[in-house]
């Protein structure tokens, strides 16, 4: 059994410790906001925070996440009030939306370390968006 702290809650999970965190979140804890895009750390759709830093959860084995504070999109804010969530709505960023949980989580971590400077966040966002929402992402970040 592995003890996890997800969005502030203690969760015990009973799967092999080599299972990537992504699948523990999605299939065991039913936190499906975190997305699978590639499974090899190449797209960013699965980004979550571990102790505040962005990690691609498809490439984090469960045992490495044990005991650390895990934040998923569901826990970014209780009511979609995180400044990035608000800016995303304000600027109507998402299209299909599938990459956006990862974008927001990567952006949230970068925003924290950039002390609110949106242009620095843009530099840190290497996630893929097939719908091509990049221009609106940039506009949303510029308005922070």
């Amino acid at each position: 059994m592995t003890k996890l702290v997800v969005n502030g809650f203690d969760r015990d999970v009973e799967v092999d410790e080599t299972t990537p965190l992504l699948w523990v979140l999605r299939d065991v804890l039913n936190l499906t906001g975190t997305k699978y895009g590639c499974g090899i750390g190449a797209c960013g759709a699965c980004t979550v925070l571990l102790d505040g830093t962005a990690n691609r959860s498809c490439s984090v084995p469960l045992k490495e996440a044990a005991g650390r504070a895990i934040t998923t999109i569901e826990g970014l804010s209780p009511d979609s009030s995180h400044p990035l969530q608000q800016a995303w709505i304000e600027n109507q960023v998402p299209q299909c939306g599938f990459c956006q949980s990862g974008m927001l989580m990567a952006g949230a971590a970068a925003l924290e370390s950039a002390e609110g400077d949106g242009s620095k966040v843009a530099e840190a966002l290497t996630n893929i968006c097939i719908c091509g929402t990049y221009q609106r992402i940039r506009e949303a970040l510029d308005q922070l």
Binding site: T19, W23, D27, C38, L76, A122, T133
Partner: protein
């Protein structure tokens, strides 16, 4: 069609279902329900085969409901718009939402005609329902629904006004409908009654079949950039995509295809450790029947997706490779060249007179060949489908672009009546044409029938890349001659694989109109013109990729036009102006693009600009790109000016988003996109060797919408076709070298 493509399963033909005259509006009570009714016996084959019987009451009915079930049981009724006595308005959405903003656009149309605040409309995804569900493709979602939905809204409004007049005791002519109320001035005092108070009465009135529609000059909701209705769910992780479906007791399966095209399973492999079952997957033939000896893939079932994928990796399957010569990019290229040189063509547009003599006699001419590659869709959400098969019933959840095709697929595999099949359309993490296909649905149904538990079947990303229905590769040759600024002859020959042919919808020797879309009916004056197509029977499975044939032909046409302009020594804008002089609508778009790209006259050295114009799906689009820092392996695309005339923008912000997105998508394909095949297998397997545009590479895209007021054009696809030629022409302007082969910067070697 060869073996490799026979795992192609069938979808509806891309003829786009619209509400026909056989459909009529009908009302029901319990609030005012405007539904669509049609005679079951009149169904043509192309229409949704499903006839869901109205569910008996007592069930929670988020699906189609109606309270007016005519005695004549051959009439099928489906709810579409419902106004409840608490004033709430619900619109059942029969299409698929993958970011185009269709849900919002339709709510705007309904709000406009019904005269209610658009925010008061709740849009709900409808389950597959005849008359309500339709194929979301061909940039047709809003176009096909505008008329019928406007009619439904206007009909409901007229019924409510009639009921309101009755209640207020005044003639209908003295009443107006506004903001969800019927108002009238009675004895100098304004009185009003809400729709909610009127619905019960209104539901008993006859339904006007030809209600009076709002004059477009009076639109207040249509044409506004209202926020998209589904976005709040897309920023907090609560939007449910296909992969997010969770059903009690469900298990997870991953698919593993044969390692090469045209190989079949030999015996059922043992269950790998950590998994609970393996299920061989059979191909469907072109008629949708299960083909014999055709197990082209295996599904591994486990308690979570990771274990299922691990099971696929360690699977000990033996494959019977039927073909002696594996499909290989070099061989495919050589075969295509052979076809271009000597293949028998189907003539799409015959020349009016001797074209060769004109070409031969010209002093200035071009003879150029363009080549575009196979392309994967790479939707952000991999293919997946969840099925609960309960012997007498089957329930399906899928990110599908065509819910009614899914019903047909389930029927063919299970033999169940359509009425026993429920299909829920989830949000789609991208569709791009791929999710109108049925292969992933058919595979999931087969797994569920075997294991008798609710199961999600997903494609690991490697399988999604490796077993796509690729945008076909194509070669195009253009021979054209000039006399001054005039084009005197234009001979266009292309070779590509027919998508409709592979699906069994068009016979060999028949023209596949999609193979030449964007090459025929060109708006330009091109003198004597001939367009022909050679079918390429290559066995790579092909399919609909955002903008389909237009993505191929706009590249060749617009690059060739640019080459002619250069040969004539005329500015590319002026040259096109000359050729479009007879077309006022096209000229207006070109002129707007000229203004919007005024920056191009003052570019620094090393920078280049290129223009391209393309009409597709009823919309006219002109794009001007600026590039710089061109090297052998990279370049920067700094900006793209984009002008679009889609008749009228229902939601201008949505149009802008689709243009920006189409440009980003087209740009990735132009610069790097290519699927190669090595020894019968796809060479690109994941995003580490499939490069797509990133944030820091996104050009500044400025979009201007021209409102011509002409018939509505699509917006999901028309942004794509002009991108590649605009970039290629800009590359020429920066370097003096022509791009005739895509992608510009290949990432893989075959």
């Amino acid at each position: 069609m060869t073996d490799a493509s026979s795992d192609a399963s069938i979808g509806d033909p891309p003829s786009l279902p619209m509400l026909s005259r056989r459909h009529f509006l009908i009302a029901g009570a319990g609030g005012l329900t405007i539904g669509v009714a049609f005679l079951a016996g009149c169904e043509s084959e192309n229409e949704p085969a499903v006839l869901r019987k109205p569910k008996p009451s007592g069930k929670p009915v988020s699906r189609s409901t109606t309270t007016t079930v005519p005695a004549d049981s051959t009439v099928v009724v489906n709810a579409w718009v419902r106004i409840a006595n608490d004033n709430s308005v619900t619109l059942m959405y029969g299409g698929s939402e993958f970011g185009q903003g269709t849900m919002t656009g339709l709510a705007q149309i309904l709000a406009e005609e019904l005269r209610v605040p658009w925010e008061s409309i709740t849009v709900k995804q409808a389950d597959a329902t005849p008359g309500v569900s339709y194929l979301t493709g061909g940039s047709f979602a809003v176009r096909s629904q505008f008329g019928p939905l406007a009619n439904a809204g206007a009909a409901a409004r007229e019924m409510l006004v009639a009921a309101g007049a009755d209640m207020l005791g005044v003639p209908v002519s003295q009443c107006i409908a506004r903001a969800g109320k019927v108002l009238a001035t009675v004895d100098g005092i304004e009185r009003s009654t809400t729709y909610g108070e009127l619905v019960t009465k209104a539901a008993t009135l006859p339904v006007p079949q030809e209600p009076k529609l709002t004059d477009p000059s009076k639109y207040t909701v249509i044409g506004r950039s209202v926020p998209r209705v589904e976005l709040p769910k897309k920023v907090n992780g609560s939007a449910v995509y296909g992969l997010d479906v969770r059903v009690p007791g469900m298990v997870f399966a991953a698919i593993k295809h044969a390692p090469v095209f045209g190989a079949w399973l030999e015996g059922t492999p043992p269950i790998p450790s950590g998994a609970s079952a393996v299920v061989p997957i059979k191909a469907l033939d072109a008629r949708g029947a299960v083909a014999r000896d055709s197990e082209y893939a295996v599904a591994v079932v486990a308690s979570n997706t990771w274990l299922a994928m691990e099971g696929c990796r360690s699977l000990d399957a033996r494959w019977n490779v039927l073909k002696s010569a594996p499909l290989d990019s070099d061989v495919l290229q050589a075969q295509a060249e052979q076809l271009m040189a000597a293949g028998v063509a189907v003539i799409a547009e015959p020349a009016a007179s001797q074209i060769q003599a004109t070409l031969d006699a010209a002093t200035k001419s071009i003879d150029v060949t363009y080549s575009v590659p196979y392309l994967a869709h790479a939707c952000m959400e991999v293919l997946n489908c969840t099925v609960d098969y309960r012997k007498t019933e089957c329930e399906v959840w899928a990110p599908t672009q065509s819910a009614s095709s899914v019903v047909g697929t389930v029927q063919r595999l299970t033999g169940l009546d359509a009425g026993a099949i429920t299909v829920h359309t989830t949000f789609l993490g991208g569709g791009l044409g791929r999710k109108s296909e049925q292969d992933f649905i058919a595979a999931a149904v087969q797994v569920a029938m075997k294991i008798r538990k609710p199961v999600m079947l997903m494609y690991p990303r490697e399988e999604d890349f490796g077993h796509d229905r690729y945008r076909p590769m194509a070669l195009v040759n253009v021979k054209a001659s000039l006399d001054g600024a005039a084009v005197t002859a234009w001979k266009y020959r292309t070779a590509s694989t027919s998508i409709l042919g592979q699906l069994g919808f068009s016979a060999s020797g028949q023209l596949d109109s999609q193979a030449v879309e964007g090459a025929t009916s060109l708006p330009y004056s091109l003198g004597i013109r001939q367009t022909e197509w050679v079918a390429n029977p290559a066995g790579i499975p092909v399919g609909f990729w955002r903008s389909v044939g237009n993505s191929i032909n706009a590249f060749a046409v617009e690059c060739a036009i640019d080459e002619l302009a250069a040969a004539a020594g005329i500015d590319p804008f002026d040259f096109r102006r000359g050729l479009l002089a007879d077309d006022a609508r096209a000229t207006a778009v070109l002129e707007a693009a000229d203004k919007l790209s005024a920056w191009r006259t003052s570019l620094a050295s090393g920078h280049g600009w290129g223009v391209a114009y393309a009409e597709s799906f009823g919309s006219l689009v002109c794009q001007v790109a600026e590039v710089s820092e061109v090297t052998d392996t990279s370049m920067r695309v700094n900006r793209v000016a984009c002008v679009v005339d889609c008749g009228r923008a229902i939601n201008p912000a949505a149009v802008e988003m689709q243009m920006q997105g189409g440009i980003a998508h087209g740009l990735s394909a132009t610069l790097w996109g290519e699927m190669k095949f090595t020894n019968g297998a796809a060479a690109v397997t994941n995003f580490n060797n499939h490069r797509v545009l990133r944030l820091d590479e996104m050009p500044q895209v400025d979009v201007e919408i021209v409102t011509s007021g002409e018939s509505l054009g699509g917006i999901g696809e028309p942004g794509v076709p002009p991108v590649a030629p605009a970039i290629a022409n800009a590359y020429f302007s920066a370097t003096g070298r022509r791009i005739r082969i895509l992608p510009i910067f290949p990432q893989t070697s075959s």
